[in-house]
Subunit: 243 residues, 2 copies
């Protein structure tokens, strides 16, 4: 079998060249059209969220507004786009609707999405089932300035960060140790899709975990100072009640 | 090659039967001796930590004491035991020191530890490098009742939980979808080692994330109440200073 495979011209554009893609059908839309549609989707999500937040909290800070936009976009991508993959993982090669073609375009940089890879499927399923809905919950908690916004921001961001680090790491292991590359050799796929697109879920979660921990620290410090201030003012009853 | 392998009697006790274990050497110590040594190690870690915490904070609550014991044990297991695996992953089959034999015993329930599996190596490396040291930091923060104890408790616990869920999930995927089992068929290995031993890192982190989020919520609520109490008492200067 290996010898036979090595001489057959692959019927798909994915790497490694001889990898089997069950039921593969070529995309009808090209890269430009698919990237344009994806960008349009993101723009619509951002615009609707912006209007909703400005209506709910007209005095919202720029930082809170940007964080809500981020988590709503994450919620949509995790729940719908990655959820689509988790649901259809066994027949991704033949999917021809918008999400199917988007995944096949992205898979040029990582064919594991078309080959029923155990880690990618498990990580994407957890992302869709947990980080998807929790991203919307976190967006809502930030939009309403709820006391639970920081714990949720930490949990979702760490979940995204860890999943993404493992996603990079498992691919790099196969690349460097097993000499097995899942990306086409053109730089635009490896650097543009695989590295750049996923780097958002490294940089932004790291920043948001940092701001969450800092906010928690400030709150605890403020609480300690206030306890002292109240005790000094003889208002011990209020402290005990508040605790 | 596949035909040849199928007729060869495996030279090791691991599953799947024909999996290749590079440089395999049989353990010198038996299950009873290895489990006894592991339990003794845990007992020593618990005893030393107990004495150290009681000296540092004689009035420590039982709940804080138990949480510190947990994180110190996790720190030792992640950094030293799992770090040992991450460092020696390519030659685990032939390792004959205590940790090597312990890993070979455990691998009877999951041979991926002896076959350079990409996911297991990446997850264990992240666990050793990040959750190991951070477990000790968290133990220290709890022992000293530091304001950062809860964010750190959340971060380390979620990291452990997510890693463990993916660990179970990837194995179950290969078991149910690919009909590929990494555990010997005896129930003691699958249920005792694989399911039971790892379930600690599902149940306890879930509980600790819950208590962290609850503590954060209570702190924020107390802060809000105190702000109101201070404002009502005309102590606005203190509030601003504290913030």
């Amino acid at each position: 079998m290996p010898k036979l495979n090595a001489t057959v011209i692959p019927l798909h554009p994915y790497y490694p060249i001889n990898v089997e893609i069950v039921g593969y059908v070529a995309n009808k839309w090209n890269t430009f059209e698919l990237c344009g549609l994806f960008a349009s989707g993101c723009t619509i999500i951002f615009s609707l969220t912006y209007l909703a937040v400005k209506r709910l909290r007209p005095q919202v800070s720029t930082s809170d507004l940007l964080t809500v936009l981020w988590f709503v976009l994450c919620g949509c991508i995790h729940l719908f786009f990655e959820g689509y993959f988790a649901y259809n993982f066994s027949r991704m090669g033949g999917m021809q609707d918008l999400f199917g073609q988007l995944w096949k375009e992205y898979s040029l940089s990582d064919s594991r999405y078309l080959t029923q890879d155990a880690f990618v499927l498990c990580m994407e399923t957890i992302t869709a089932v947990f980080w998807g809905p929790l991203s919307f919950v976190t967006a809502g908690l930030i939009a309403t300035d709820h006391p639970l916004r920081y714990p949720f921001q930490t949990i979702v961001s760490l979940g995204q960060l860890y999943g993404d680090v493992l996603y990079y790491a498992t691919s790099m292991f196969d690349h460097y140790i097993l000499d097995l590359s899942y990306s086409r050799p053109e730089g635009a796929y490896f650097w543009g899709y695989f590295v750049f697109m996923n780097s958002f879920w490294i940089v932004i979660p790291l920043y948001l975990i940092g701001t969450s921990v800092a906010a928690n620290w400030r709150a605890m410090a403020a609480l300690n100072k206030m306890e002292k201030a109240l005790k000094a003012g003889g208002a011990n009853g209020s402290v005990k009640k508040a605790q």
